[in-house]
Amino acid sequence: MTDTERQHQLDMRETVDATAVAAGATAALPPDNPLHAGGETRSQWRDIWRQFRSHRGAMVALVLFVATILFVTVGPYIWTIDPTYVDIRARNSGFTAAHPLGTDQLGRDMLARLMAGGRVSIAVGLTAMIIAITLGSLIGVTAGYFRRLDAPLMRLTELFLALPLLPLLLLMVTLFREPLSQSFGPAMGTFILIVSAIGATSWMQAARIVRGDVLGLKEREFILAARSIGTPAHRMILRHVLPNVLSPIMVAATLGIATAIITESALSFLGLGFPPDFPTWGRLLYDAVDQMIMYPWRVILPGLFISLTVLCVNYIGDGLRDAMDPRIRGR
């Protein structure tokens, strides 16, 4: 390698390093080996993770959230008492060695019930979030990408936003609990009903955010370039649009889990959620309210779990939002 060649290579590396953000400038100087253009490769996700780790609250929340998930998934294998096992002689017991968190009015172990309840609550939160986010990004991307569908889809979104959601949710759950319980069994039927009801009524925010981002993306050069080489619409959306709106979708998804968990426990609290022998955190709280004067801990424990989980999820969402915002990243 001659001196000029080496000098050229060094110059280029410098330029690539200096303009790693502005893609337009690097395009003028094509690297010899594009894979290793900037020396050490830095993936976007590692950057996001690095930024996320510096958000102390979000990291604590992540650890706590993982601990909660372990508590409800692995916990039942360690603490093997059946949550529905009725031990009438041990009813209303306080914190003892046999029952670390006490028992309820039928002598069912609270620790086991909290694990079982959390499993359902978190499952509802995750599933409802997946439904809402899928619907939301589908509608958002379609509305943003296809100009002809924009107006009708946005009208639809506004229509849904104008619906009084909690009353409607209550209505849907009361009206359709019986038939669904009959066809899918009481637990599964209620699960399907609640998850789809929450999912169908909480996709609007995600749709609006995604649409806005897609509209902005469509004006960018790389979309124009992709279109000019004849990329069909479906590949355009999957390869070029979706990956670029992933960060707002992820933030909306995290916050969606929190809302779904709260909504489910609110429904359970109003007596319109899961059947009594099928505990969720909201249901446990609701069942304990009648005896809260004698046994306040039975109300406080499930409530604490709900609040803690939602708090963690909200903090994680906050951290994600900061980490994914390139304007804040690197500060």
Binding site: A162, L163, P167, A266, M292, L311, N314
Partner: protein
């Protein structure tokens, strides 16, 4: 601005009609039977006549149009008559509740004051504490006050109101016995004693709701203040020697309040409908509680009318928020 308002009002009509149709069809598709509680010993032909009497005999579209007529024509006429002593609505059928057999709007009118005093007052308190907190934590960003405010507001909207309500009842209602845990709606304020009783029973529900509302609004306030504090006009204001007080409380605050006011307006419909859970916790028999009992009792006219009123409020306040935004911020042009 005016054309925008008129256009939006015209657009709101099909939206509301569609929403009412959705709610109506949802109720129609329900398997619940308003006559479900009638004993089995009642002969079928009598039951059929009871159906007729409830107006359930005709097909759904007839009943839907009839309900629309009652809601948009008969009821306004009735209230007009009440106000001016005229006789326009004489002989017209108002919307009748299945449960109480009295006009739906009379029941709603009885419940509105309860909801408005408790929920409305708590919204006011929430806004009043949220705005100073938002201003301070933005002005001293990353200070201990800001960190604390962020943490408290995170907790505020992570704790569901049914949990905070129940915890407050356990601590202040049961252990300390400071406040009554059940809201007594029959209490009438006549003298200082009854006024004091009213204040005491309002403390807990108002605290719960105010905490929840303040948590959300203070976040908005903080974000909006932060946006404005880094603007050039703030530096200019400081550079020309204005006092820090004037800069923050006159220049920055006014501009930051613009988006916050719209957020507050958007939250107002929830004052009527969203406090269902808190009303249930403290046994306030307001609109939310009315809705729950109506849902449980298959009282179709009541559920339909109440949900539709909530929908009208949401549409109305969204419109108000948009118009306010246009009035307050001269940079926004709708036309």
């Amino acid at each position: 601005m005016l054309t925008f308002t008129i256009r939006r009002l015209l657009l709101a009509i099909p939206t509301l009609l569609f929403i009412s149709l959705v709610i109506f069809l949802l109720l129609e598709a329900s398997p619940g039977d308003p006559l479900g509680d009638v004993p089995l010993t009642v002969p079928p032909e009598v039951k059929e006549r009871m159906r007729e009497a409830l107006g359930l005999g005709s097909p759904w579209y007839v009943r839907y149009v009839l309900w629309l007529k009652q809601f948009f024509w008969v009821e306004p006429l009735f209230w007009f008559d009440q106000a001016f002593g005229t006789q326009f609505s004489a002989g017209m059928q108002r919307i009748i509740s299945f449960q109480s057999r009295s006009p739906v709007f009379d029941v709603i009118a009885q419940r509105v004051p309860q909801t408005l005093t408790v929920v409305g007052f708590s919204y006011l308190v929430g806004v009043l504490i949220a705005i100073p907190i938002g201003i301070l934590s933005a002005y001293k960003q990353y200070s201990w006050f800001d960190q604390l405010g962020t943490f408290v507001s995170m907790i505020g909207f992570s704790m569901p109101t049914f949990f905070t309500g129940v915890v407050l009842i356990i601590i202040f209602g049961v252990k300390l016995q400071w406040f009554p845990s059940v809201y007594d709606t029959t209490l009438q304020v006549r003298d200082w004693d009854s006024f004091w009783a009213q204040v005491r029973q309002m403390v807990m529900p108002v605290t719960v709701l105010a905490l929840y509302n303040a948590a959300q609004i203070s976040r908005f306030m903080r974000a909006s203040m932060l946006d404005n504090l880094s603007q050039d006009y703030v530096r200019t204001a400081r550079a020309k020697g204005l006092s820090e007080r004037t800069v923050v409380l006159k220049h920055v605050l006014r501009n930051s309040l613009i988006p916050v006011i719209t957020v507050i307006a958007l939250g107002l419909p929830a004052v009527f409908g969203g406090a269902i859970i808190t009303e249930q916790v403290f046994k306030v028999n307001g609109l939310g509680q009315l809705l729950i009992t109506a849902i449980h009792g298959n009282d179709i006219p009541m559920v339909l009318t109440l949900t539709f009123i909530f929908a009208i409020l949401i549409v109305l306040f969204t419109l108000i928020a948009d118009i306010l935004y246009g009035i307050l911020d001269p940079r926004i042009r709708y036309d």
